[in-house]
């Protein structure tokens, strides 16, 4: 099972270029898609989920053309959109059951078992008869996950799945995903960098519709290892530093800005070398002045 995206472009009617010649090879396993809001992550995922057209380019899932054979793709697809609502006046069990019918699980007994198992897995079993209107954000999200897992997807696309989940729920969800085994393509978008590091065997960073970077998370970090420096500065000095150094991120620690910069050589001036993280790599791609092109 392999998903190949090549030269995918999409421009919206209002002129926004959502995707610009995106090419990715995604093998089975977890694939992380990292990027800021508006980067084109959701556009890409919707296109993969057969819900949006591309202006150019192709997507194939093994030998299946995703853009033209949508319903074939949908049979093996699990999709959790970033934003969704639920019918307020029916229970979780009923809606999940209904969605199972839509997914083609038409045998009543099978359906009952699957729905039950998924409700357990997503910790919604106790709340299964409640009307969805009363669901909290986290419960709603878990319901979304449950429906995405109906019908044993071969291609699972989850858009910001952990938004609204508390840490325990988040862990639970990741366990679920990792359980899915090796013959499923799982694409996960997030802006929580750590998620990717923990879970994904492959990743890509996209911004403004373009793929900035793709590769194995560890390899990606490896490339900037030894080039990241950190310093706590005064607020008033901030602008000076920004002009003189390749600042990739600034954080506040006890009210004082702490800068991360990227530099081939030790810049001195109080900067201390630190261990590079994926986050540094991410910020360097998004905000940093690129040093020299890095390819994974």
């Amino acid at each position: 099972m392999k998903l190949i995206i090549s030269n995918l472009s999409k421009t919206y009617a209002n002129g926004v270029k959502a995707l610009n010649k995106v090419s990715l090879d995604i093998p089975t396993g977890m694939f992380g898609l990292l990027g800021p809001n508006g980067a084109g992550k959701s556009s890409l995922m919707r296109t993969l989920a057969t819900l949006q057209e591309a202006d150019e380019g192709t997507i194939t899932l093994d030998n299946l053309n995703v853009l033209t054979h949508k319903n074939e793709v949908r049979k093996v697809l699990g999709y959790l959109p970033q934003e969704f609502g639920l019918y307020p006046r029916i229970s979780a069990e009923m809606l999940l059951n209904h969605l199972a019918v839509l997914k083609g699980i038409t045998k009543r007994n099978e359906r009952r078992e699957i729905v039950k198992a998924l409700l357990h897995k997503t910790n919604l079993y106790q709340a299964r008869t409640q009307n969805l209107k009363g669901f909290s954000g986290g419960m709603k999200q878990r319901f979304g996950i449950a429906q995405a897992l109906l019908s044993n997807p071969k291609l699972l696309i989850v858009d910001e799945p952990t938004a609204g989940l508390d840490p325990a729920e988040r862990n639970r969800f990741y366990n679920l995903l990792s359980e899915l085994g090796e013959n499923t393509v799982v694409i996960l978008s997030t802006h929580i960098v750590d998620d990717i590091k923990e879970l994904c065997t492959n990743m890509a960073i996209i911004n403004q519709g373009e793929v900035l970077l793709k590769g194995n998370p560890l390899a990606v970090i490896q490339q900037i290892e030894g080039k990241v420096y950190e310093k706590a500065v005064q607020k008033s000095e901030l602008e000076d530093y920004k002009q003189n150094y390749n600042v990739i991120s600034e954080k506040l620690f006890l009210g004082k800005p702490i800068l991360h910069i990227l530099s081939d050589n030790n810049p001195g001036n109080g900067f201390k070398p630190i261990e590079a993280s994926l986050e540094d790599r991410y910020f360097s791609e998004i905000f940093g002045k690129s040093l020299n092109p890095i390819n994974a």
């Binding site: 949006q52 049979k75 029916i90 209904h98 019918v101 083609g104 910790n123």
Partner: protein, 1204 residues
């Protein structure tokens, strides 16, 4: 601050397309507004742009369009909740007053803008070239502005406040959608209020108000008087504006400027019990399922999907609100059950079904229009669409589930309606529920059209991809279809959905109308399935919504399976269409209106020259008729004996075949031979040049054979006379001689368009040719009739004459009828499966004691009123034979026929009587007039007025035939029923007269000159005859009629024989004048020769108590009399009449009771009367029974004040 919110609202609305759609909608609606509201109205007298016409149209259109007010006013606050920005809004430091006021005024400004479209539409509409300039007054903008401001705007204000408040208090969009219906319900409710004044005040659309206040206005007033803003109208407007203000105040105080604090948040807290699962459960494996994609799984998917949506609508309170609303309307709306002259019929299922259909139609449309939108948008509204769309369910199954779910919802409503109907029947003590009639009425008649429109609604929703625009589109489609129908697109293959099914008859079921109906529905169903496939192919899946993108995608969605299915359906569609076309247009002739007019025009232009050509008269008819009800066919073979009664030699006989394509004239031969001239074939008009010319006084035999064959089927309006059970046709179907005036184009405007001369519906009294004819195309002076009719074994065939033989042959029933004396040339043949009720009447005082067989042939089960009808026959025969002349036949038969027509018609000794007008009437002797009795008496009277004496086919003909029959019938009613029943009947006739008079396009004619105005010759006629007999005495009137009948008898009357003319109204009046004393001679002129009206008024009434049972009453009355001349001018005439003065008191039970009724001689405008009565009077009235032609009866009476 409020101003900013106001500005924001306006700015927001300016960008919204619906603002303009509403404007355009109202503009277009108003554009055709007057014609829409006053459909079929002739604007000859009251002009199309008279203030009252405009005011009523505006009121009605405003009422109908209140839904728009709801959609504009209901949403401004709701919108904040919908988009969940209420929290953002309400934390701002806005004051409640500013927020509400700003939003209200902003929306109201937009609403006024939308409704200004109506004003503009009306104004522009006047200038459209298709209006007849004779129907218009000179243009004046003020005539539009005034009712717009006075009538329409207050309604709009009321609607705006109520909708605004209920919108924000309920926070439900469905309330916004449906609340206009409630106002409409309210409007319907007010219709049932008895008190006219109250009704006028409470009518939210002021329609009744306008009618009420213009009652008694003259033509000139109606045309030129602006609507005065006073009286009931003023109260009406104040009342509704006040309601609007009160509602806003309540709404203002109830509006809570908090986001939360409603019930749901408490619920939510309770429900957040969030116990964790055990880890074991979490570890459980999700079972693997086996995917199958076959027909079975898809069927299961469809079934599940359907039930899902079906249940989702069932859960909607809005749905149940609509259902409830429908039931309420049905309960409050007194169900009209085939009401004839104010008498209801038994609650037979077909009446109930018809009523239920009519009253629920609106609700079905609402459900169809709104829930089709809701269902298509259901996922997108809740934002579940991305999850949905990514599932492998096909769009076809997805849409079909919604579609069928909605259809099931219709079933729920239908079941509810059936339950309501059955309850109603039970409550009325009627237990013959006839569930199959319910089934037919809903499943066969209503469901197909709902299904078809639902297809279209889905199509529009998907294609336009905006819920609201989709709703508007389907509404336009609905209205557009109606308009297309008016514009002449009528063929069932072109007019969407085809026509409705002709109503159900107990006798004949749906008859032969069902087959074409089903074929046409199949045709449209297939059409809709093609549309539906397009709907599926173009349905939105995912985030691509632009039509261009969807067009690109369609090639993937239009799968091989769908392609082959569409091909198949397309072929079936074309085949069905061709089959229908073959039947309606090739096997049968289909005429568009235009073609029909051209033909009529051609007929008149080509053949009019023969109109006065002397032709022989039919003297004897001898026919063998074979009826085949099952195949809807007959043959009629035999001969006419023709006699030259003129004083010139007749060389050619002109035969006119009935112009109907399934009637053929197989041969026509003449004794001695004739050469056929077929140059007028096109008009089925054949000229036979006799080998031997017919000398005056000579006779000749004309043999012919005519066949009626049914080939395939015709469009909906096919012949309802030859049917499976209950055929009824007259001799007008057989060949006639000479030019037939009835084929001429009769519509006045169309004649003008073709530059044809003005055609009066009756010839003038001076037309010497017409005086010698008793009916249009008359070709007889009395005939001998002999007829053998064969029909199926289970049916009885009936024709005039004595039944001289009856036998069975080859599984058929034969009946041989023969008349024993001449009859008028007017006979009917009926055949049906009949039950028979018989009786015998013996003449009481006749010298020849010949018994008369009374027979009623009726449909099984229709035996409710047979005794009443039998009674009527006997009593009428008694009265008529004693007072007018002996009854001429030895039998009198009534035969029931299907309710395709609602009349009874007299033929010699026989009366076909529709199942709709007497057989199933539920007559309550307490409150109803016995109309079964009355109608029977009326028809029997025609055995004298019509069968013994015919009237010349000129103006006033119906005065003789119908008015006299009415007189005779009311005399029998008077003799056999209490006085108050007679008065009740007369009061109803007075109402009928006033209504007819209001609809009159031309000037109301005097009775003696009446043409086809039934409100004159039936309604006014019976009242005036009643007044005549009150003034000169019943015996005198009867004496005059006896003489008249004797002198002008069609066959042997000395005056008829001498002049060879038929009787005219002038002749009749001479007999009346003969028996009228000199002092009352002018009454004849008032009642019959002119249109004479009264304006009577009681200006003051008082009394004083003289002794314990002696009261002196003083009345000041004003009486004036005037006549309407040909031009419609009122001409005052001196009063010189005996007029009823009535004084009411209370009887022992406290009921109003006439304690004094006397005729007083009045000969001046103001009169002071002093009357002594023996009990305390309550009020007094001039002409208390409303028998004088006074258009404003209200002011005739006055309540008393007691003198000190």
């Amino acid at each position: 601050m409020w101003y900013n919110i106001f500005k924001f609202e306006i700015k927001y609305r300016i960008k919204r397309p619906d603002t303009y759609i509403f404007f355009v909608f109202l503009f277009l609606f108003a554009f055709i507004g007057v014609d829409f509201i006053f459909q079929g109205m002739d604007f000859e007298i009251i002009k199309r742009n008279a203030p009252i016409t405009i005011a009523k149209s505006m009121a009605a259109i405003t009422g109908i369009s209140l839904a728009i007010a709801s959609m504009i006013m209901g949403v401004p606050i709701l919108r904040d909740f919908e988009y969940n920005i209420e929290a953002l809004m309400f934390v701002n430091p806005i004051r409640k007053r500013d927020y509400l006021l700003g939003r209200f005024l902003g929306s109201y400004a937009v609403l006024l803008f939308a409704f200004s479209g109506m004003l503009l539409g009306f104004t522009v509409g006047e200038f459209m070239p298709w209006h007849n300039p004779n129907h218009l007054l000179p243009f004046s903008f003020l005539r539009y502005l005034e009712p717009f401001v006075l009538i329409a705007l207050p309604i709009v204000f009321f609607g705006a406040t109520v909708f605004f408040v209920s919108g924000f208090l309920s926070r439900k969009l469905i309330v916004v959608y449906t609340q206009a219906i409630f106002i409409f319900v309210l409007f319907v409710l007010t219709k049932s209020i008895e008190n006219e004044f109250l009704q006028a005040i409470l009518d939210p659309f002021s329609l009744t108000t306008l009618t009420d206040m213009t009652e008694g206005w003259s033509v000139a007033e109606r045309n030129f008087q602006f609507i005065p803003f006073n009286g009931v109208l003023l109260y009406n407007k104040l009342f509704w504006i006040a309601i609007g203000i009160v509602v806003s105040m309540i709404g203002y105080s109830k509006f809570n400027f908090n986001v939360v604090g409603d019930k749901t948040s408490k619920k939510r807290q309770q429900k957040l019990s969030n116990k964790s699962d055990s880890l074991a459960n979490f570890k459980s494996k999700v079972p693997v399922f086996t995917r199958q994609q076959n027909f079975k799984t898809q069927s299961i998917q469809l079934a599940q999907h359907t039930m899902f949506y079906f249940k989702s609508i069932l859960k909607e309170t809005s749905f149940w609100t609509i259902v409830l609303c429908g039931i309420v309307i049905i309960i409050i709306n007194s169900i009209s059950l085939g009401t004839v002259y104010d008498v209801d019929s038994y609650p037979k299922t077909y009446f109930i079904v018809k009523e239920l259909q009519e009253m629920s139609g609106f609700f079905f449309v609402i459900i169809l229009v709104f829930y089709s939108g809701e269902l298509i948008w259901k996922e997108r509204t809740t934002k579940l669409n991305l999850i949905y769309d990514a599932t492998p369910i096909t769009s076809f199954i997805n849409l079909s589930g919604k579609f069928i779910g909605l259809i099931l919802i219709y079933f729920v409503l239908m079941l509810t309606l059936v339950a309501a109907g059955v309850l109603f029947q039970t409550a009325n003590g009627y237990y013959n529920y006839e569930l199959q009639v319910y089934f037919n009425g809903f499943i066969l008649e209503l469901l197909p059209i709902l299904v078809l429109y639902t297809f279209m609604a889905f199509f529009f929703q998907v294609l336009l991809n905006q819920k609201f625009i989709g709703v508007i589109a389907i509404l336009f489609f609905l209205i557009g279809n109606v308009i297309l129908g008016f514009m002449g697109v009528e063929h069932d293959l072109l007019s969407f959905g085809g026509s409705t099914l002709t109503f159900y008859s107990d006798m004949n079921g749906y008859g032969h109308f069902l087959r074409p109906y089903l074929w046409v529905k199949a045709y449209w169903f297939l059409f809709c399935v093609i549309i539906y496939i397009a709907t599926v192919v173009f349905s939105v899946r995912g985030t691509e919504t632009s039509l261009k993108k969807r067009w690109k995608l369609s090639k993937y969605n239009f799968t091989k399976r769908l392609q082959s299915a569409s091909m198949l359906i397309l072929i079936l569609f074309l085949l069905t269409g061709s089959y229908v076309y073959y039947n309606t247009n090739i096997l049968n002739t289909y005429w568009t209106n235009a073609e029909e007019q051209e033909y009529q025009l051609g007929y008149e232009q080509t053949l009019k020259k023969f109109e006065h050509l002397p032709q022989p008269k039919i003297r004897a008819v001898n026919l063998n008729i074979e009826l085949y009800p099952n195949t809807r066919a007959y043959t009629s073979e035999g001969y006419y004996i023709l006699k030259n009664t003129s004083n010139v030699i007749i060389k050619e006989v002109h035969v006119q075949k009935l112009i109907e394509s399934n009637v053929t004239l197989d041969y026509v031969t003449f004794e001695g031979g004739a050469a056929e001239d077929r140059q007028y074939d096109k008009y089925d008009y054949f000229i036979y040049k006799l080998k031997k010319a017919l000398q005056p006084g000579d006779t000749i035999k004309m043999r012919f054979k005519q066949s009626f064959t049914t080939k395939g089927f015709e469009v909906s309006d096919s012949n309802p006379n030859i049917v499976e059970n209950g055929s009824f046709f007259t001799n007008k179907n057989f060949p006639t001689l000479g030019y037939n005036r009835k084929y001429e184009l009769s519509d006045k405007d169309k004649r003008a368009a073709y530059k044809l001369p003005i055609r009066s519906s009756k010839a003038s009294l001076k037309d010497t040719f017409a005086l010698q004819n008793a009916r249009s195309g008359s070709d007889s002076e009395g005939i001998q009739l002999e007829m053998i009719i064969g029909t199926t074994l289970d049916q009885t065939a009936i024709a005039p004459g004595k039944l001289i033989n009856q036998w069975k042959k080859e599984d058929r029933n034969y009946f041989h009828y023969k008349t024993s004396q001449p009859i008028v040339d007017f006979y009917a043949i009926v055949s049906a499966r009949y039950e028979l009720k018989e009786d015998i009447w013996f003449p009481q005082s006749d010298t020849i004691k010949q018994a008369v067989a009374l027979q009623i042939y009726y449909h099984k089960g229709h035996d409710y009123n047979l005794n009443r009808m039998m009674q009527a026959m006997k009593k009428s025969l008694n009265y008529f034979s004693a007072n007018f002349s002996p009854y001429q036949y030895q039998h009198f038969r009534i035969m029931e026929f299907p309710r395709y027509a609602a009349f009874a018609q007299s033929f010699p000794g026989t009366v076909p009587f529709s199942e709709a007008i007497g057989f199933v009437l539920d007559i309550d002797d307490e409150k109803d007039v016995d109309m079964a009795f009355y109608i029977t008496a009326h028809e029997l009277a025609h055995q004298w007025f019509g069968m013994q004496i015919e009237a010349a086919n000129v103006q006033g003909q119906h005065f003789i035939l119908e008015t006299l029959a009415q007189y005779a019938a009311i005399m029998v009613l008077k003799q056999n029923y209490p006085e108050d029943k007679v008065k009740q009947f007369l009061a109803l006739q007075k109402e009928t007269y006033l209504e007819g008079q209001l609809r009159e396009a031309l000037q109301e004619p005097a009775l003696a000159l009446v043409e086809n105005q039934d409100y004159v010759y039936y309604a006014k006629g019976v009242i005036n005859m009643y007044v005549l007999q009150e003034l000169i005495g019943e015996a005198k009137v009867n004496l005059a009629l006896k003489r008249f009948l004797n002198d002008w008898n069609s066959f042997k009357g000395p005056k008829k024989v001498k002049t060879r003319n038929y009787a005219t109204s002038g002749d009749l009046l001479r007999y009346f004048k003969e028996v009228t004393p000199d002092s009352l001679q002018h009454v004849i002129k008032d009642l019959f020769e002119t249109v004479t009206l009264y304006k009577n008024r009681t200006t003051a009434a008082s009394y004083e108590k003289v002794a314990s049972s002696q009261y002196n009453v003083y009345l000041e009355i004003e009486t004036s009399k005037y006549r309407i001349d040909d031009q419609g001018n009122e001409i005052s005439v001196p009063i010189n009449d005996w007029i009823d003065i009535g004084i009411y008191g209370k009887d022992v039970d406290g009921n109003k009771n006439l304690i004094y009724l006397q005729k007083h001689y009045i000969n001046k405008k103001q009169t002071l009367l002093e009357i002594e009565v023996d009990q305390q009077p309550t009020n007094a009235s001039i002409d208390p029974h409303n028998l004088l032609m006074d258009r404003d009866f209200e002011n005739n009476s006055a309540y008393f004040v007691e003198h000190d």
